[in-house]
């Protein structure tokens, strides 16, 4: 009860808090996000590297790469969608099983774990109480949008990049992680980032991924090798068939976590904000999830659930992040 009351208080204060925090946090973490040259808005996909489900030419009305991350204001209340979930007594969440540290199934325990999984559990706990039943459903990259539209899942928490094309099909929560395309290479390599140090190198990226379109736009003299899945790039790197990998920083970090001899090089050179994807009609659920996210971020405090999850899952390979991205609202 006490927890619930506290959450509600925080929710009520959230807009204010976020308004206050926005300058500081943005200056600290989100410089790229606000810099405005967001290629992520237009480019197709992120996540595990499958082709974007939709590359709608026409973005949602008024949606620009700059304001794509804006979502609805949080609300602790409910509505049709929240009631439906309560009636079913379980939350069905679409997740990834293959991305280390984010959403993956430990082959020895058979259990799913990671940053995304923990967030999904927090959402379920808020809606359904402490003994919440969460059904994790593995959705491949290409099924993320479809699963929401067909309502086979209530939400997707699976490193989904927020962009205007997708906002035509689904709704997004506020951003819960700030990522971007980045270069991964062996520690000993002379590669310094997404620049001319790639000249003559064999660079691996997933077919149909944002990395591939970035490389075709700015090749930097690299020879490009495409593979079905981003993790295949680490295999090629270890076998000496590739010299560097271009992928999402979150996924690159997941690769670095599996091989201590490789590391992220340079800074992310695109902006990609991850959000929880929901059915477009579930407005009440969007607001509810945004409220949970506000609590989760805890205003960016050192002891917030977000920071604890970051320490647990991501810090080792994505060091130097001082707090969650600041939520932005459209209403």
């Amino acid at each position: 009860m006490r927890g619930r009351g506290l959450l509600n208080l925080r929710a009520a204060l959230a807009p204010v808090a976020s308004g206050v925090c926005v300058m500081v946090a943005a200056a600290a973490v989100l410089v790229p996000a606000l810099s405005g040259d967001g290629p992520s808005g237009a480019s197709g996909s992120a996540g595990a590297g499958g082709p974007g489900t939709a590359r709608a030419a026409q973005a949602a009305v008024g949606c620009t790469p700059q304001n794509a991350v804006q979502s609805l204001r949080p609300s602790p209340g409910g509505g049709e969608a929240v009631d439906r979930i309560k009636r079913h007594g379980q939350l069905v969440v679409g997740v990834d099983q293959n991305t280390y540290r984010w959403g993956y199934r430990d082959p020895n325990t058979g259990k799913l774990e990671g940053f995304d999984i923990e967030l999904a559990r927090a959402i379920a706990k808020d809606i359904l109480g402490p003994d919440a039943k969460v059904v994790f459903q593995a959705v491949p990259t290409n099924q993320r949008i479809t699963a929401l539209q067909k309502r086979t899942v209530d939400m997707v928490v699976r490193t989904v990049t927020i962009n205007c094309a997708r906002k035509e099909q689904v709704a997004f929560s506020t951003a819960y992680f700030q990522a971007g395309q980045q270069v991964l290479a062996p520690r000993t390599a002379k590669i310094t980032g997404f620049d001319d140090s790639l000249r003559g190198q064999r660079v691996c990226t997933a077919a149909g991924s944002t990395g591939e379109s970035e490389l075709s736009a700015r090749r930097h003299g690299a020879r490009v090798l495409t593979v079905p899945n981003q993790l295949d790039c680490l295999v090629r790197l270890q076998l000496g068939e590739a010299d560097a990998v271009v992928t999402d920083s979150a996924l690159a970090a997941a690769q670095a976590a599996q091989d201590p001899t490789v590391q992220l090089k340079g800074k992310p050179f695109t902006d990609e904000s991850y959000g929880v994807a929901l059915n477009k009609d579930d407005v009440d659920l969007v607001r509810r999830v945004n409220k949970v996210l506000d609590d989760y971020r805890g205003g960016g405090g050192a002891d917030s659930p977000w920071m604890r999850a970051y320490h647990t899952w991501l810090e080792a390979d994505l060091p130097g992040i001082s707090g969650p991205p600041t939520p932005e609202y459209s209403d």
């Binding site: 499958g50 082709p51 293959n98 082959p107 020895n108 059904v135 593995a138 899945n229 599996q258």
Partner: protein, 474 residues
């Protein structure tokens, strides 16, 4: 014996031999070649009846001996080809099938063991190791019988260089998997890709090359010995002609020597024809019932292995690899493997499918029974597979995994039964092949030796028969 010869008095020996000799003497005798002498004698002989008889006798003996020699030669050739079928090319084709199957089985087993993770059973590990060992041993056997420049030799080289790489990838996959890293799955998929795109196509090409060699040996063993048959007909024809001529000139119906020669030649001709017909039918049977069935069954086994591998990999990849039209790559592979195996419908296997073809080729109940049983198990496998897919699609990975590699009516059980039934069918067809081919081979038996003996007998008969006539002129 009773009647007097009609012609002899007219042409007597002396003029026949003296006239040419007289005309030949004026040129310096030292410059006469043996060849010219022979020609002259022949010319002289042709003009007198004893001379003609001598020529006829020589030609008859020669024809009969040629018949015998050609028969012995062609039958030896065919016997050697039939031996090759049974002792060389069929075992090599079986070795190639073993390589093909072991490689596919290793890949499938590795994926199955991978799914079990740290709980991978000793049986699974042993099976994988045995598969790799079998493939390596059979490769040595195959390469010992193959020149490196042969098409088969090139495939052997490809497999030999690819296999260590493949096993290296599998071990890396295992190591990563044991540490709980998803990277292991990526290695396993890469290993599978190698197997699918390099090793298995090479193994298949090797199997095809060895099967072609088998078919070539069959064709060589089954080819009709036309030269021998033609030589036999000519010899018998010449003997009959000589006897008819004899009868016309002497009114004697039988010449014992010529009769014996004819008898021996006809006997050899009939023996040759009959033995060949029997051998041909035996070899044809072994090809139709054995070799073709073996081929279809081997392919069915590979199909089921690959379908099983894809089923395992669907759970390993968990949607990480998609086809162009956004379907799960491995699930698509499973379905196409099943379509090759039993066709797309339900119930009986479609005629164009492997099991349909195997059923049609099986010529007895003992051959059909395991194929039918395999089909029933495939249907059960498909039903269980659908349950596993449904569970996985609902997000219940645990249940899907249990349905595939668990203990309560899993698809693993169905697959193992399919494999066992196909193995049973293969063993049966192998025995059928062997007994039919041995029967065919036995038909040639003593024919080569018999041909030599009969031909010599016939030649002796012909010479004696003609000699009998010649003696009447002395």
């Amino acid at each position: 014996m009773p009647a007097t010869p009609s012609a002899p008095p007219v042409s007597s020996m002396p003029p026949a031999s003296s006239a040419p000799a007289g005309s030949a003497s004026p040129p310096a005798p030292g410059h006469r070649t043996a060849w010219a002498d022979g020609l002259d004698e022949l010319r002289a002989a042709a003009t007198t009846e004893p001379g003609r008889l001598r020529v006829i006798g020589a030609v008859l003996a020669l024809l009969v001996l040629v018949f015998g020699a050609v028969t012995a030669w062609q039958v030896t050739d065919r016997t050697a080809a039939a031996d090759d079928v049974v002792e060389r090319s069929q075992p090599l084709s079986a070795a190639a099938a073993d390589i093909y199957r072991s490689l596919a089985d290793a890949d499938t087993t590795a994926a199955g063991g991978f799914l079990a993770g740290g709980a991978e059973s000793k049986a699974t590990r042993d099976r994988y190791a045995a598969d790799i060992a079998t493939a390596s041993q059979r490769l040595v056997q195959a390469s010992a019988n193959t020149r490196a420049s042969d098409p088969a030799g090139r495939q052997i080289a490809t497999i030999n260089s690819g296999l260590p790489r493949y096993t290296g990838l599998i071990e890396t996959a295992r190591t990563n998997n044991r540490q709980g890293l998803p990277l292991g799955g990526a290695y396993l998929r890469y290993a599978n890709d190698q197997m699918r795109t390099e090793l298995l196509p090479a193994a298949r090409a090797l199997y095809d090359a060895e099967t072609d060699r088998l078919a070539g040996d069959y064709a060589a063993a089954k080819a009709w010995p036309w030269y021998a048959l033609a030589a036999g007909l000519v010899a018998v024809g010449a003997l009959l002609w000589a006897q008819r001529r004899n009868y016309r000139r002497t009114n004697r119906v039988f010449n014992k020597g010529l009769l014996a020669a004819t008898g021996a030649s006809v006997a050899l001709l009939v023996w040759l024809g009959a033995a060949h017909a029997v051998a041909r039918s035996g070899l044809s049977d072994s090809y139709e019932q054995g070799a073709r069935s073996l081929r279809v069954l081997n392919e069915a086994r590979i199909d089921s292995l690959q379908a099983r591998g894809d089923e395992n990999l669907t759970l390993v990849a968990r949607g990480a690899v998609l086809t162009k039209d956004q379907k799960d790559f491995y699930e698509v592979g499973f379905r196409s493997g099943m379509a090759d195996l039993v066709g797309s419908g339900s119930g009986a296997a479609s005629a164009g499918s492997r099991l349909g073809a195997a059923l049609a080729l099986a010529d007895d109940e003992a051959g059909r029974q395991p194929v039918r049983e395999a089909l029933a198990q495939v249907r059960q496998w498909q039903a269980r597979h659908d349950q596993a897919r449904t569970a996985d699609d609902k997000g219940d990975y645990e249940q899907a995994l249990a349905k595939v590699i668990g203990t309560d009516r899993p698809t693993r059980e169905s697959f193992d039964r399919v494999d066992a039934e196909l193995h049973k069918a293969l063993t049966h067809e192998q025995a059928e092949f062997r007994s039919a081919a041995d029967g065919g081979r036995a038909a040639f038996g003593l024919l080569a030796v018999g041909a030599a003996v009969l031909a010599v007998l016939a030649a002796v008969g012909a010479v004696l028969g003609i000699g009998r006539r010649l003696s009447e002129y002395r």
